[in-house]
């Protein structure tokens, strides 16, 4: 009997997870999101910037991690536009460019912002750490054109912007390498720039040392981090909507772990006796 329970068909587990997630999406519980300090730090950093300050956003993720990072990117962009900050972006991952651009356009429409005047997207260049190193000293050498081939000299907001010096804050939405590690290594350690991190939940624990050493001004991990940020800017979005499903899925996984261990211990006891 115990053996049977331990070898439960995985399709049953898949079905339970599927049903729980669907129910949570169809019938939201509206659970309250607890805002953690690392997320609040990013919010406070953006709040402290004066209008027309320049912020650099790096979209270093792809569709596989968009469920976690897209809501956070959109929330941060909304916050920046609400504060009338100027955004320049790029992607260290090729697909990040279009994902970021889609979010920039959504927020730009909401806040009446214009491409080339309030925000610009430089696009993708292969090279990761070398791209960061290059734009730290000469942005136009690395990106003579934006993501759709416009000459960067034709974008009014980039007048006199030749490197990372004018940027008060850099935020990377990072799902792996190249990403936050390289921003910290070059832009923070070498040029003293402030870096904020939006990361996938699975890699967030790896960057707590950077946070504690003040090499990151803040950290928002996974969909939970995005939901916290949405709560801070008081615009609930996809992350807030997804938190119920994620909460219940986590709860079910924990119940499975406990169930598996109870059976394991019972089996161990019965075999030893």
């Amino acid at each position: 009997m115990l053996d049977k329970l331990l070898k439960i068909d995985r399709r049953i587990i898949f079905s339970i997870i599927g049903i729980v997630v669907i129910i949570a999406i169809l019938f939201p519980m509206g659970l309250v999101v607890h805002v953690s300090e690392p997320v609040e730090k990013i919010y406070r950093e953006i709040e402290s910037l004066s209008p027309d300050s320049y912020v650099f956003l790096s979209f270093d993720y792809d569709p596989a991690s968009m469920a976690e990072l897209d809501p956070l990117a959109l929330a941060v962009i909304r916050h920046c536009f609400r504060k009338d900050l100027k955004i320049v972006s790029l992607g260290l991952w090729p697909q990040g460019v279009l994902l970021g651009q889609a979010n920039l356009e959504i927020a730009a429409e909401e806040y009446g912002k214009e491409y080339g005047i309030d925000f610009a997207n430089l696009g993708y260049k292969t090279g990761g750490i070398v791209v960061i190193s290059g734009i730290s000293t000469n942005l136009r050498d690395i990106f003579p054109q934006d993501y759709i081939g416009n000459n960067v000299d034709s974008l009014p907001m980039l007048d006199g912007i030749n490197n990372l010096d004018p940027f008060k804050l850099i935020i990377t939405f990072s799902a792996g390498d190249p990403g936050v590690r390289h921003w910290v290594m070059i832009a923070q350690a070498r040029y003293g720039k402030k870096i904020g991190l939006g990361s996938t939940a699975v890699q967030a624990p790896a960057f707590y040392p950077y946070l504690q050493a003040n090499q990151l001004v803040g950290l928002a991990g996974g969909m939970k981090g995005a939901a916290e940020y949405e709560q801070l800017i008081k615009i609930p979005g996809l992350a807030t909507a997804g938190m119920d499903a994620q909460s219940l899925a986590h709860l079910v996984i924990v119940l499975f772990i406990i169930f598996g261990n109870v059976i394991f211990l019972l089996k161990k006891r019965s075999s030893s006796s």
């Binding site: 659970l31 953690s36 792809d62 090279g127 290059g134 040392p209 924990v254």
Partner: protein, 206 residues
């Protein structure tokens, strides 16, 4: 000569890159910029090489009608299709490339990753066992973080989010920092071996 010249180039470039970090003045700063630009150019050729390898592999698979050859047709069509749409009409909003990206690549990528939740549930049920003290500690920490990091955690017990944050900020951070220091020391020693020509496997092995 076939080995000496690459070793000499590696030594000179490696030393210049190390020196420019500590002395960011001319001529090192200029050399650093030049090397960066060369790297970007070489990286583009590496992309082209990767693309050619991918095409060759799948064309061979098609020729020999190996198992899963149907997927190779889809891959090659997708590859050619996206390259042409991107090259002809650009990648801006409303372009065919963007349409393909938003309506095909995005949902497919997101779906693949979403499947992970199902496999994690199954794997954690089967593999996460309190077999000894170390495994039990890991298990308890994982359960507390998993529950404490989601909204339902506070509903179960309002201290759970704080406990999860404490685990992340102290025990987790200490472990991660130890790993990071280990990796950094390993990277420094490996880099020195490469620069000094002791480590030569990157040349094709000896």
């Amino acid at each position: 000569m076939k080995r000496q010249i690459p070793l000499l180039i590696t030594f000179i470039v490696g030393i210049v890159m190390v020196v420019q970090y500590f002395i960011p003045r001319q001529p090192f700063a200029g050399l650093f910029d030049t090397f960066n630009q060369w790297f970007l150019i070489i990286a583009v050729f590496a992309l082209i090489l990767g693309l050619m390898n991918l095409v060759r592999l799948h064309v061979q698979k098609l020729r020999r009608m190996k198992g899963g050859w149907g997927y190779s047709i889809i891959l090659l069509c997708g590859l050619v299709g996206t390259i042409f749409t991107g090259a002809l009409w650009g990648i801006g909003t409303g372009s065919p490339f963007n349409y393909v990206f938003v309506n095909i690549q995005q949902p497919m990528g997101a779906t693949m990753f979403a499947l992970l939740a199902f496999f994690i549930a199954s794997a954690s049920f089967r593999a996460f066992r309190a077999r000894n003290l170390d495994a039990t500690l890991l298990l308890v920490a994982a359960v507390l973080v998993m529950i404490g990091r989601v909204t339902i955690g506070a509903l179960i017990w309002n201290k759970l989010p704080h406990i999860a944050e404490w685990i992340m900020s102290y025990p987790n951070m200490a472990g991660q920092r130890a790993i990071m220091i280990g990796i950094a020391l390993g990277t420094v020693s490996y880099s020195l071996r490469v620069i000094l020509g002791i480590e030569r496997t990157y040349l094709g092995g000896e």
